[in-house]
């Protein structure tokens, strides 16, 4: 099961109390939201300097290409007008990158895996509701 990344995220963010604007300009985002998106991009830029510095010694760091892909995805979220940045962006210790969103009992996880595939997983109060591959147009 595949779905366009941006469409899926728009769909699932419609239920967390944040009205999603029509595809909007970055300038329409709240200052707080924009600042947080920028902080995340800065974090990913920092990772590019030496990816090995973000994982423990025996773990696998994400590649430069994967980090760049993560930056593109973050940028895409901003362009699509998503008001809520992820709560955290972390390496998965196996060469991938994980972005977590939390709202109430809902936890959404977007993973960029080592071969570049993207996966969206949703949990509700500790139960996994679905996990699906996403297409990156």
């Amino acid at each position: 099961m595949t779905a366009l990344l941006s469409d899926r995220l728009q769909e699932y963010y419609s239920d967390i109390g944040e009205p999603q604007p029509a595809p909007s300009r970055i300038s329409d985002q709240t200052a707080e939201s924009l600042a947080e998106w920028l902080r995340i991009d800065a974090q990913l830029c920092d990772w590019l300097r030496d990816p090995s510095e973000i994982v423990d010694a025996d773990a696998i760091a994400p590649s430069h290409d994967l980090i760049r892909m993560a930056r593109q995805i973050v940028r895409r979220f901003q362009v699509q007008g998503l008001q809520i940045p992820p709560s955290m962006v972390v390496p998965d210790s196996n060469g991938g990158i994980a972005m977590e969103w939390h709202h109430g009992g809902i936890f959404r996880l977007i993973e960029i895996l080592t071969k570049g595939e993207t996966r969206l997983t949703e949990f509700s109060d500790g139960h996994r509701r679905f996990s699906m591959q996403l297409e990156w147009p």
Binding site: A57, D58, A59, V90, P91, N94, A98, H102
Partner: protein, 141 residues
């Protein structure tokens, strides 16, 4: 004499070691612990992720088992709380590490399964106390 082979008691406190630089634990963040804090690592956790029994050493000892040059937080939890979310610890003493415990069901082959992903998500929400950061002291190979 205790040697680490006795079963993990639910009332025992156990530790999970996380490198500061991973961002898996961050004070003040909601939630403070990432699901990836329990993620099995290829080549290291094929038989299950590791935790450490507090009866055999304190947080600084656990951190010291990490790599020199890296700082670690040590997350303390009650074993029974982890049992309650499906994370079953088994005693697994190793040379020089009598307090080593393993979670065989949370391993590299199972980490993408629905059951294990749920266990990892629930585990990071159990009551905990974070210690550190403390330095790792294991020499680089």
């Amino acid at each position: 004499m205790l040697d680490g082979h006795e079963p993990v008691d639910p009332n025992e406190m156990v530790y999970r070691r996380v490198a500061v630089k991973t961002g898996y634990y961050k004070l003040g963040r909601l939630p403070p612990i990432s699901q990836k804090a329990f993620n099995p690592i290829d080549g290291n956790d094929d038989d299950g992720i590791s935790l450490f029994r507090a009866k055999y050493g304190g947080p600084e000892d656990v951190a010291a088992g990490g790599r020199a040059g890296t700082d670690y937080f040590v997350i303390e939890m009650r074993a029974g709380d982890l049992f309650g979310v499906g994370m079953i610890l088994e005693a697994d003493p190793r040379p020089g590490i009598p307090g080593h415990a393993q979670v065989p069901s949370v391993n590299c082959a199972t980490r993408d399964s629905k059951e294990v992903q749920e266990i990892m998500d629930r585990a990071r929400h159990v009551a905990f106390q974070a210690h550190g950061p403390f330095p790792g002291k294991r020499p680089r190979e």
